[in-house]
């Protein structure tokens, strides 16, 4: 047992406490999500129904409708938050997030394209991944040609994102009527109609990529020191950055495959975690994942149960919260610039 200095011990202590709080919130919201709805039931009944015990009606409602949606929210939220956190560190830009730089748009485009061809929906994560990678490639190619600074890359990404979102809309308008119900998911982001196969495939893939991201956390800290110091410490910065970028794209695309282009979560959670827990460590990465899951699930529950409007997609909710947040970040940007020489 190594003795940690006071500040590190305090920071780690606080992060662990916050993780515990986030985990508790996650469990509470999950129970709430499983038990509430048109046929409300006590949380205990809902949890028993989840594992197939109790009234067959309850089991059906919980297992078939509520549980996939709850888990999809948790998985997509965690993936989005970690993806945003990695991207902000890689770009050294607090405004970077996959839904700003075009990756989410690319992923949605890929998924809609797959939908249009009528292929199996199990392939959605792959199609989203392909779309996300293509969008990132387009962004990278453009950046290389025009030699934009990494900081301004976000602006180019905004254009890519807008173009891809327009393309998604265009395709959906031309969809036959029976496919139009999925339009909501791919234009604003929604968890409506999540299914178990989606959750298993998405969850498994997200878990794998998150594990890889955790294994990269030391490398990420070294990358934070800039190209020269990272190189002198034995890291090949270009390669490490590429690996991390691929993980980021994978996380954002997998999230998009589950929930469509949900905004705000990837942008806001890293800031929230930094504000609460301080500079990034592997533990704050875990906190980021938990907070992302809690936030998206919470937003979805608000949309489902608290709002008078029926059928509002969760993406609309997060965007409503996200727009002012983005403005605040923009306004506070100069202050952030001063603190990083």
């Amino acid at each position: 047992m190594t003795v940690l200095p006071v500040a590190r011990r305090a920071a780690r202590h606080r992060t662990l406490l916050l993780c515990a709080a986030a985990l508790a919130a996650l469990v509470a919201l999950t129970a709430l999500g499983l038990s509430s709805g048109q046929a409300s039931m006590p949380a205990g009944t809902a949890l028993r129904a989840l594992v197939g015990l109790g009234d067959p009606g309850d089991v059906l409602v919980v297992q078939q409708f509520r549980a996939p949606r709850v888990f999809a929210a948790l998985i997509a939220g965690a993936a989005l938050a970690v993806s945003g956190s990695l991207l902000q560190r890689l770009f050294r830009n607090p405004l970077a997030s996959p839904d700003v730089v075009g990756v989410t748009g690319g992923a949605s485009f890929g998924a809609v394209l797959l939908l249009a061809t009528g292929a199996s929906q199990l392939l959605t994560p792959l199609a989203a991944l392909g779309g996300g990678l293509l969008a990132a490639l387009a962004l990278g190619a453009f950046a290389r040609r025009s030699r934009v600074a990494v900081g301004s890359l976000v602006l180019v990404g905004l254009a890519v994102q807008a173009g891809l979102a327009a393309a998604v809309n265009l395709m959906i308008v031309r969809f036959p009527a029976e496919l139009a119900s999925s339009a909501l998911q791919w234009t604003t982001g929604s968890l409506y109609g999540s299914t178990w196969p989606e959750v298993w495939a998405g969850g498994g893939a997200v878990a794998a990529v998150l594990t890889a991201a955790f294994l990269h956390s030391r490398r990420l800290s070294v990358l934070d020191l800039g190209e020269e110091s990272a190189g002198a410490l034995g890291l090949t910065p270009a390669r490490a950055r590429l690996h991390l970028l691929l993980l980021t794209i994978a996380l954002a695309s997998l999230a998009a495959a589950l929930s469509g282009p949900v905004g705000f979560v990837a942008l806001a959670v890293p800031h929230l975690v930094r504000f609460l827990a301080g500079p990034p460590t592997p533990a704050t990465l875990a906190l980021t994942a938990l907070t992302g899951g809690v936030l998206l699930l919470g937003a979805d529950l608000i949309v489902l149960h608290l709002l008078p409007v029926h059928g509002l997609p969760v993406g609309a909710m997060t965007a409503t919260l996200g727009a002012p947040w983005l403005l605040v970040l923009m306004i506070r940007r100069p202050a952030a610039d001063r603190s990083t020489p």
Binding site: R8, R218, V222, L225, E228, G231, A232, P279, T340
Partner: protein
Amino acid sequence: MTTLATATRNELATHRLALRYGSRTVVDGLDLTLPGGAVTAIVGPNACGKSTLLRGLTRLLDPAAGTVTLDGSDVHRMPARTLARRMGLLPQQPVTPEAITVESLVRLGRYPHQRMLSPWSAADQAAVEEALTRTGTAELRDQPVDRLSGGQRQRAWIALTLAQDTELLLLDEPTTFLDLRHQLEVLDLVAELNTDAGRTVVMVLHDLGQAARYADHLVVLHEGRLAAAGPPAEVLDAALVEAVFEVPCQVVPDPETGTPLVVPRARARRPTTH
């Protein structure tokens, strides 16, 4: 035993080294030997290729031609981690991550000694403690680096390169942006690292007097080529300074140390009022 001693003499050398940024050649055909166990100062006018040379020595810049060797083996063919265990670098303008504490920063110096899943070891902690103590930053360990004064911040960064535990240290203008007291503090620390800890130091400096005081070996670069190299007392004379820096001057013995001191010739005397 002789072979072992020569194998780790920490001698960097360049052989017909050319370094380019795009099509611009910055260093051309440089043959240089930087003695192991010594403090070497690289000096020269702005844009003479000092920092570029340092980048070339550390793998951050691949040579356009020629090679760099460390005790005979090609630096640019060594695995990155192997090299990082032998040679550390303090860049001219290091990037300090936001809100990072001194100790967290210094811990990152252990990166080349760690494997992907290896836990933080006693050896790692010992190296960090020694680096903090040696640089006098131990009591600052919990402070955020971006709130420290320039001199303290520089010492924290030097501590990171010390925690890396390399026998060779490369410092790119470690005294820039520091006031005189802190400049001397950093240079004294460098001298101490060399004499007490036996580290080989190669640093880029601007001040010729400081270079002459603190270095055993002086490398003078001019337009990407070697203008002179050797012990400061043998190398630094008025003719060289005039040829390289285009400054007419006298070189006199430093009244404190006896090392060469460059005194620029006065231009037209400024009228004294009153």
